[in-house]
């Protein structure tokens, strides 16, 4: 019955536009903004990496080869990959053990383990580094006070791997836990009724089904690890990574081409990992989202399995508590390492002299979060429900911005927004733009997933009842997107307050931010003040999340 008619994509495209001129206008604006704030900056960094400085002669390629022959580049490149791979391996393994224990065993204290295990996600990435220095540094609580070691060296690769693994384990944990939870336990039960032992069920059913989740977590942690700037800077010592090296070339030596080249090199593994993640893993996910939560029955109760797993979980949680507890304690001591008496003076300082950066960060996060959320959801809506011609550009731009490390975005912004008509350096706008660009993808993804689960007939029903597009979005689509709104808001707000890698290039005398301030305190060894700031930041994030939950949750209960 099918004939091959002449496809007329152009006219159908035009008709789609005509049906929704407003939405198409928004789509055009978003596409333009994506080009300006994502594609252009990244492209400019790539160009700068190739451009000759006045002192250099020769063609672009010759210069590139010349620059690439510098050993420092390859050391940093190797270090970055080594760090990324190590952290990915350890975080994923830890995350899997946590997730497995949480979903498959009757371990005690699951709620507590869950809450504490998530702490590293919502704190600035380098709080753990700070705690490590406080515990194991030259005048560390454990190294010097407890063990009496003098001149202990906490700086270097080993600490860095430890810190990153700990910091990124929650990502892997959440990802794998979701996978294990949505796995229909009937599958495992079916295997068990076929007389498979519990070990066989694990090896032949659970593990293979969880594999896409495990692998995707590893890629995610890898990308996060190589993008990380704060930890390597604070505790890397002589172990230089691309992100740190790019920063010091640019800010320390004003060597723009070298900084750009290092940042561009950072883009390669990031993009690669991201592309593998999207195109290869997406097709291999066995878990289908049915929308109805499948009941998970706990079948694994053998002590010899449960106890070691539980012990591992408690150990992990104990470590997190120790590290964050240290930060809290140090924030309340007079002069850490010298005078351990109780004092609130750091908090007093933070709330007097240090109020400006705190206020700045809060302002920026409060603006960036709703902007990123709204943009993300609207893009998700356009991409799933309307297929406007040219949507590929928008998709490419937002994906690129998400995959691109903060360093390259930061460097790109400095160069692109330095001249009229896009003169934005030193303004709050440029910082907000960087945060929105780095976080918008989470809103897009959450929104897309949510929209896929909403039967399009629900919106059609509203339409045929006479509602306009605006009313449908307000009264039907947006309320149903509430979980996605929460995810996007929480993520962009938290990242807005805690991010460092991109905005380190963008802060100015007018707009200095709390994370940068903490970093300065650490570098000048004012640990007490740094700790106090970190605690305040964590409290702010936690209260904001609680508020958000209440705000969005109450909306749901009205119904």
């Amino acid at each position: 019955m099918t004939t091959a008619p002449i496809p007329r994509p152009f006219s159908t495209g035009l008709r789609r536009i005509a049906a929704d001129p407003w939405l198409f206008g928004i789509f055009m604006v978003l596409s333009l903004l994506t080009v300006i704030f994502a594609i252009l900056p990244i492209a400019s960094v790539l160009v700068q990496a190739l451009r000759a400085t006045p002192t250099e002669t020769g063609s672009g390629l010759g210069i590139l080869i010349e620059r690439l022959s510098a050993p420092l580049i390859w050391r940093a490149f190797g270090n970055t990959l080594l760090l990324g791979a190590s952290s990915a391996l350890i975080s994923t393994l830890t995350g899997f053990l946590l997730a497995f224990a949480m979903t498959r065993t009757p371990m005690r204290g699951k709620r507590t383990v869950h809450m504490i295990a998530l702490l590293p996600v919502i704190s600035p990435p380098f709080v753990i580094a700070l705690a490590m220095i406080l515990l194991f540094g030259r005048s560390g609580l454990i190294t010097r006070e407890l063990l009496g070691i003098r001149g202990a060296n906490v700086y270097g690769f080993h600490s860095l791997v430890f810190i990153q693994s700990l910091a990124f384990t929650p990502l892997a944990y959440l990802n794998i836990r979701g996978m294990l939870q949505s796995m229909d336990s009937a599958l495992e039960d079916a295997a068990a009724t076929l007389r498979a032992s519990q070990w066989t069920v694990f090896r032949r059913v659970t593990l293979p089904l969880a594999l896409p989740g495990i692998f995707s977590s590893a890629l995610l942690v890898f990308v996060k690890s190589i993008e990380d700037f704060g930890n390597p800077l604070v505790i890397g010592g002589s172990f230089n990574t691309l992100a740190v090296e790019a920063y010091s070339q640019l800010i320390g030596y004003f060597n723009v081409p070298m900084g750009a080249l290092l940042a561009s090199l950072l883009l390669v593994p990031s993009l690669l990992a991201f592309m593998i993640h999207r195109h290869w893993l997406a097709k291999r996910s066995y878990v289908t989202v049915t929308g109805k939560p499948t009941a998970q029955e706990i079948r694994l109760t053998a002590r010899r399995v449960v106890w070691p797993l539980a012990a591992f979980c408690y150990l992990y949680v104990g470590l997190v508590v120790l590290l964050y507890g240290t930060v809290v304690w140090v924030s309340l001591t007079k002069i850490p390492g010298i005078d351990w008496s109780f004092s609130t003076e750091h908090y007093v300082r933070a709330f007097t002299d240090g109020l400006a950066p705190l206020g700045n960060s809060l302002t920026i996060a409060l603006i960036a979060a709703p902007v990123a959320t709204l943009a993300g959801l609207v893009i998700a809506y356009i991409q799933t429900r309307r297929r406007f011609p040219g949507a590929a550009l928008l998709r490419l731009g937002t994906l690129l911005s998400f995959a691109a490390p903060g360093t390259i975005i930061g460097i790109g912004y400095v160069s692109v927004f330095n001249t009229a008509p896009l003169l934005l350096t030193g303004t709050i706008t440029i910082i907000i733009a960087a945060i929105v660009v780095k976080t918008v993808q989470v809103g897009i993804e959450a929104g897309t997933n949510q929209l896929r689960q909403i039967d399009p007939a629900i919106e059609e029903a509203a339409m045929i009842l006479g509602a306009s597009n605006g009313r449908i979005f307000r009264r039907v689509t947006a309320p149903l997107l509430r979980p996605a709104i929460f995810t996007a808001m929480a993520y962009s707000f938290t990242r807005g307050l805690t991010t460092l890698s991109a905005i380190i290039f963008l802060v100015s005398a007018n707009w200095t931010l709390i994370t940068v301030t903490i970093l300065n305190q650490v570098e000048t060894l004012r640990m007490g003040l740094a700790a106090a700031y970190s605690v305040i930041l964590i409290v702010i994030v936690l209260s904001a999340l609680a508020l958000l939950q209440v705000a969005l949750g109450r909306g749901a209960k009205q119904r």
């Binding site: 019955m1 099918t2 004939t3 091959a4 008619p5 496809p7 007329r8 994509p9 159908t12 008709r15 049906a19 039967d455 007939a457 629900i458 059609e460 029903a461 509203a462 339409m463 045929i464 009842l465 006479g466 509602a467 306009s468 009313r471 009264r475 039907v476 309320p479 149903l480 749901a556 119904r559």
Partner: protein, 360 residues
Amino acid sequence: MTRVTLKGINKIFPGRDGHPGAHAVRDLDITLEDGTLVTLLGPSGCGKTTSLRMLAGFETPTSGQILIDGRDITHVPVNQRGIGMVFQSYALFPHMTVAENVAFGLEVLDLTRAEITRRVGEVLELMDLSALAGRAPAQLSGGQQQRVALARTVVTEPDVLLFDEPLSNLDAQLRERMRDELRLVQQRLGITSLYVTHDQSEAMAISDRVIVMRDGRVEQDGPPAEVYAHPRTAFVAGFMGRANILPARVLATEGESLRAELGGVPVTLPRPGSELAPGDAIRVVLRPEQIALSTSGPIRARIERVIFQGGFTEYQLKAGAALWTITDHRHHLHPGHRPGDEIGIDIGSAAAWILPGATD
């Protein structure tokens, strides 16, 4: 007074990435008379939903015209057509209560609060839903959700009502009850309706007219009893219920009747409208309930299977190479037959229907 006309409608879904497109609807001409319920019936993929969605405005016809009372609405947006639709999945707003769901379409009309409350109350009363007004859709049974979907649609008093397999999510018993309720509401309100289903018994029970579709085309259009008794093609005959469609050959025409050879036996059949000459190939359509087993029947057959169905007994027989199905609705009155029994088939003559030619 609402009369809907679809004139020469074609719908071609463009292909993508080198795949051919789909010509989902071809040269569709339909008229819905005022206040009637017309059913689109056909197998999966024949273009029923596409036709309905074009009338609703969710799809634009590739060519053709849609008129309501003579007004061309082919390019009028969905939300200005004054058409109501009940979806297969009901598409209730999950975040609103039953009352809020029903009120949604009235809010769009900018009525006063009091007016909205009054009309919602009336419709909930009519649909026997008053007690459930404050519930969320997730807290309702399938049948209740179905009634809410209908209430939400009729409360805005649309000129035309569309149904896309509205009962397919219900179990068999409930389906029949809801079907009758639906028909009752439609008749009481007198709304011109188009109803899509692939269940022929549902189509016959509910409609004023049935339109059988196949591969995007109308195969036959008429009142249910007419389409059932006088199918134009073997496809329609088979789709409108069970049928024995048997090859035969014309022997002679005699006044109002026709002599034909069927399964090696000469039989007398009613004469069809079309001209037939001796020697022509024909097909005889016999409904299983219109023929009977009798020891003296002229066509000899062997019983292969006997299936007890409660209300009737179904016999599957073999006569020569042909397979026959016969249902006995008076099986309680006489002893049954058993597999292996040799028996005769008596086709009577009045109800048989002749299709010219050996194939459609």
